[in-house]
Symmetry: C2
Subunit: 203 residues, 2 copies
DNA sequence: GTCTATACTAAGATAGAC
DNA sequence: GTCTATCTTAGTATAGAC
């Protein structure tokens, strides 16, 4: 008779995620994962095609988790205040899960359809607030200003790029406030600080 | 008699850099580097303590190169226009050297004093322009808004995060313009869009 | 589905001779 | 400074039995 399952796909993904958390995307072996769930490395191949398939599964679960973290941010009626809270929640997630966060933006990741969908879905909680801030037509463009700032800021922070001194929290708040102000400003008087005219597409 | 040198430290660094360009920070071995300069792998240990020391040397030369790329950006008298050009030059460098760029911000890098200095020096060409835009006291804070955006944008672009559709160039221009407008705006009427008061340190 | 055994590949680093 | 030879360690993945 066939061996009864000692573990489950989900348990394996969870174990791999824990290893990513501690050692980073490349810092663990399949043997480590297997040991964590009480099986041997070769048995993993019965459940995942190869190492990268397992990592991809971890990535999916992380996007979900990021989306949840954002949706738990404090609600505010004022869009500026609401987006500030979302920004803080985003940064908090990245700082609490630095290696997981790095995995999400690893350039070596395979861009599967599922991964792209999960990435988009994770940002969905913020979209209505962008709409409230700058209107339907400019919401996506606005998200493409704030989101890169957030990603860049936390990445640089985690990489130790802000070594010149304290005030990192203040710098973050200042950055978010500046960008939100710029977005509001441009909504009122579009195309003022610009010096060069290009066609503007929302997406 | 001792063997005459077949190569030089600089040639080795250049060869390593070329391999980084093609295969990424972890995509080549010391044997590859050695072969590229016509020696054998063990000989490298006579010149570099280990692999990471060689990678660190590559990193230093890359910071220099980024600084040069920025200093070659078109000059403009208007600070907003000047910073827009610098932003374009920054993005162009990252897109032309994606793996080298990734190396510069790899979280696993050792944060040596030299690396920190080189990083700072690479940004130096932009500082006077920030001063012209927002004044001496706010220049560094301003740089800490635009720079993370730039880094975040190009990183996301390289990681394939903007899969939802075209207009990436336009999105970049829009982001830069929005941020510069926010900076100018805040200079005129500090603390308007903010909703929460925190102490603001320039550095 | 899981196991043992193993093939396969590869890389970093050191010893000691020239 | 460079070489050959070697140590050491490690990991992914497959074959075939239970």
């Amino acid at each position: 008779m066939p061996s009864p399952p000692k573990t489950s796909d989900d348990a394996i993904i969870a174990a791999a995620r824990k290893l990513v958390r501690r050692h980073g995307r490349d810092g663990f072996s399949l043997a480590h994962v297997a040991a964590a769930v009480g099986i041997k490395a070769p048995s993993l191949y019965g459940r995942f095609a190869d190492r990268s398939a397992l990592v991809a599964a971890v990535e999916l679960s992380l996007w979900r988790e990021l989306g949840q973290a954002l949706s738990r941010a404090p609600r505010r009626t004022d869009p500026v205040a609401a987006l500030s809270e979302l920004a803080r929640a985003y940064r908090a997630f990245a700082k609490a899960n630095p290696r997981e966060y790095a995995l999400l933006f690893d350039a070596r990741a395979e861009h599967s359809v599922k991964a792209t969908e999960a990435r988009t879905a994770s940002m969905a909680p913020a979209l209505p607030t962008f709409v409230a801030l700058v209107g339907e037509s400019a919401a996506l463009a606005a998200a493409r200003v704030l989101t890169p700032f957030l990603h860049g800021f936390v990445t640089m922070e985690l990489a130790g790029a802000f070594r010149l001194g304290g005030g990192i929290d203040a710098a973050f708040e200042h950055g978010v406030a500046t960008i939100l102000e710029g977005l509001v400003q441009r909504r009122r008087a579009p195309r003022r600080a610009g010096q060069r005219r290009r066609k503007q597409r929302t997406r």
